[in-house]
């Protein structure tokens, strides 16, 4: 097995940062590549790009993942969720106070003994994932979901989360690239290929009750050369959430029906 194949067989490390909401943020650029190239998971880059720190068009790490993307990676069984603070602290403790900081570098590589002239901050620990420590800091899907739902800002219920995830999964498994949909006032936006190259097809709305919203959405979507899609899941929503095996429910495959809406102006 070559070195690359070995790396590719390892699960992708998803750092879980416990802030106001539990956030999954990716700092490792190799992981970002793998997510995009192998699994079509886009996420959203939210960090300042250090070379061009005064613009908002090109951003950099960390890459923030949506909750549905995380669950989907769990269902594919290709990731491991890590309590990142615990992991970092363990790594620090393992050094026993002998830190040997390597953040002073010299950019002039031609001369070997030049004085370091730049102070850098790395994204993360680079390629050296410490799997022994990672095993100690694993977070299960169940406890991630529990954390997500119990955070004070979260207003989703378990049945809603399950139903929305089923809709996400349906689209993902159809091969679409998926981004959050606020730009067009929807829940998701889907692309036929990588959004770096292709325009999006459709604006996705999960829940609809108001006919006026359908008209507004359909008309807006048609105006920006897209269609609007509303989705319904056959999964019974009215289940009591007590004693529900969330992971099992999430990984089930109910029938999803999707309706495409375009604004039809007669005449």
């Amino acid at each position: 097995m070559s070195e690359n194949e070995l790396a590719a067989s390892k699960p992708i490390v998803l750092p879980l940062i416990d802030s106001a909401n539990p956030e999954v943020l990716i700092f490792n650029t190799t992981a970002i590549r793998r997510l995009r190239d192998e699994y079509g998971i886009l996420g959203v880059l939210i960090g300042t790009l250090a070379q061009y720190p005064q613009q908002n068009v090109f951003l950099s790490v960390p890459l923030k993942l949506m909750v549905w993307e995380v669950i989907w990676l769990f269902e594919q069984d290709v990731c491991v969720l890590v309590d990142w603070l615990k992991y970092c602290n363990l790594k620090k403790d393992a050094m026993n106070g002998d830190y040997k900081n390597k953040n002073l570098i010299s950019l002039d590589k031609k001369k070997a003994d030049t004085k370091p002239d730049f102070l850098i901050t790395t994204n993360d620990y680079g390629e050296e994932d410490d799997w022994e420590l990672i095993d100690q800091c694993k977070v299960t899907l169940q406890s991630y979901i529990d954390k997500y739902l119990s955070s004070p800002n979260c207003k989703t219920t378990i049945p809603q989360l399950i139903s929305n995830y089923h809709k996400f999964k349906h689209l993902k498994n159809e091969g679409y690239f998926i981004s959050p949909g606020l730009k067009f006032g929807g829940d998701l936006v889907i692309y036929p290929g990588d959004p770096l190259r292709y325009h999006s097809y459709s604006i996705i709305k999960f829940d609809f009750v108001d006919i006026n919203e359908i008209i507004v959405g359909g008309r807006l979507a048609t105006g920006v050369k897209k269609n609007m899609i509303i989705m319904e899941s056959s999964h019974a929503k009215e289940q009591s959430s007590v004693g529900l095996d969330v992971a099992n429910e999430l990984f089930s495959d109910p029938t999803i029906t999707a309706y495409s809406i375009e604004w039809a102006g007669f005449g």
């Binding site: 300042t48 960390p62 901050t121 994204n123 606020l182 770096l196």
Partner: protein, 397 residues
């Protein structure tokens, strides 16, 4: 597809042309399976990945070092330098140190302008570089535990050059209610007599008012018809103002900041897309109007350099308009200026709050202003015509 021409030399920083993701027009509607499309996509991807891999750094001459204090969730900077501290941080200690909150600290590290070390409480400031652990970005995120929505808005506005400080409520220092003058006339015998003789009229809401009052112009009639609407009672809302934001000004001082240009409320709608309730918005407006008592002094922008470009159509039109205005009578000029600024007041309302909506990491801004149709407390209108009621129906000059 050849791999050779895609690999970039490592020690070269990518320039903008390499960075640029294809623009709108250059994108395509769907994959057609051609190699051309595939290699164009690959180029874009590689440009993006190489941008992500580039170093986050600053030169040793501008060295800026912070010490993370886990117990206080903040970052101490013993020797602040550079232009970052005009609006960031609070002075701490006697030696000119500064303490940054978690959001500010994260922002500076992420743009490569600062390196942060983790102390264990016993390190001295001077040898922290050898005794403390240099934090990588992921460790700092894990320690800082910032509200990601707030951090995204902060860094978004910072990157655009705005001056930002966390909002602190001043409600405690300012009396909430102004005493309302109440002048209630008690009708007595003499007044009744005067009304009977037609000298004095009934007050405007009395059914007999229009039978007993004589009007000589329309404005007075309109005035008497206007309802004396009481201001809506104060409410308490669930939303809190997050940031005070100023447009970039060279003379900004964080010790005595002027009134902010914007008040920003960060709203994370990832799990709930409901718009803030009326009570919430009302409470925000009340809070802003109670803290913004002093009228904002208009900062004069420095005179623009004359550009070598020929004037645009818009500039030409404005110039012609100004020439035409200057030929008019003084009083007419004054009236036109007045009407202009009155329209601005009607259009923009009086109290503005900016709601920054963050949904799954995507940002959107919404501006909410309180309508000011009665045109109360408009100082620049009062300056032109002091004792005038500015409402739109009183068009007499």
């Amino acid at each position: 597809m050849s791999q050779i021409d895609l690999i970039e030399p490592e020690d070269e920083l990518p320039d903008y042309s390499q960075l640029s993701v294809p623009k709108r027009g250059e994108k395509e509607f769907q994959p057609d399976g051609t190699t051309i499309q595939q290699s164009a996509l690959q180029t874009s991807l590689e440009a993006m990945y190489s941008a992500l891999d580039s170093l986050r750094m600053h030169h040793i001459k501008q060295k800026l070092i912070g010490i993370w204090r886990t117990e206080d969730n903040c970052c101490y900077i013993p020797h602040p330098r550079g232009g970052y501290f005009k609006d960031m941080g609070v002075p701490s200690g006697k030696k000119g140190g500064v303490v940054l909150n978690a959001i500010e600290c994260l922002y500076l590290v992420e743009r490569g302008s600062m390196a942060v070390y983790l102390g264990d409480g016993n390190n001295s400031e001077e040898d922290i570089e050898s005794t403390g652990l240099a934090l990588n970005l992921s460790y700092l995120y894990a320690l800082a535990k910032v509200d990601l929505a707030q951090y995204q808005i902060y860094s978004y506005l910072k990157r655009l050059g705005y001056i930002i400080q966390p909002y602190t409520s001043k409600m405690d220092h300012i009396p909430l209610f102004k005493p309302i003058k109440q002048t209630k006339m008690k009708p007595n015998y003499l007044v009744g007599l005067a009304r009977n003789w037609g000298i004095l009229s009934y007050p405007s809401f009395h059914p007999m008012h229009f039978k007993t009052k004589h009007y000589f112009n329309y404005t007075d009639i309109f005035k008497s018809l206007s309802l004396n609407t009481e201001s809506i009672p104060k409410t308490t809302g669930n939303l809190k103002i997050t940031f005070r934001v100023w447009k970039p000004t060279p003379s900004f001082s964080k010790k005595s900041p002027p009134s902010p240009d914007f008040h920003v409320v960060v709203l994370d709608t990832s799990t709930d897309t409901k718009f803030p309730s009326f009570a919430d918005v009302q409470a925000l407006h009340d809070e802003i109007s109670s803290t913004n008592i002093k009228p904002k002094e208009q900062v004069k922008s420095p005179p623009k350099k004359k550009s070598s470009m020929p004037p645009s159509k818009k500039e030409l039109r404005a110039k012609r308009q100004a020439e035409r205005q200057s030929k008019l009578d003084q009083s007419i000029q004054k009236r036109n200026a007045y009407l202009n600024s009155r329209d601005q007041h009607l259009k923009n309302g009086s109290v503005t709050v900016v709601i920054a909506i963050v949904n799954q990491g995507i940002i959107n801004f919404v501006n909410l202003s309180r309508g000011n149709f009665k045109l109360k407390e408009c100082d620049n209108l009062d300056n032109v015509f002091p004792n005038k009621t500015h409402s739109i129906i009183y068009n007499e000059f």
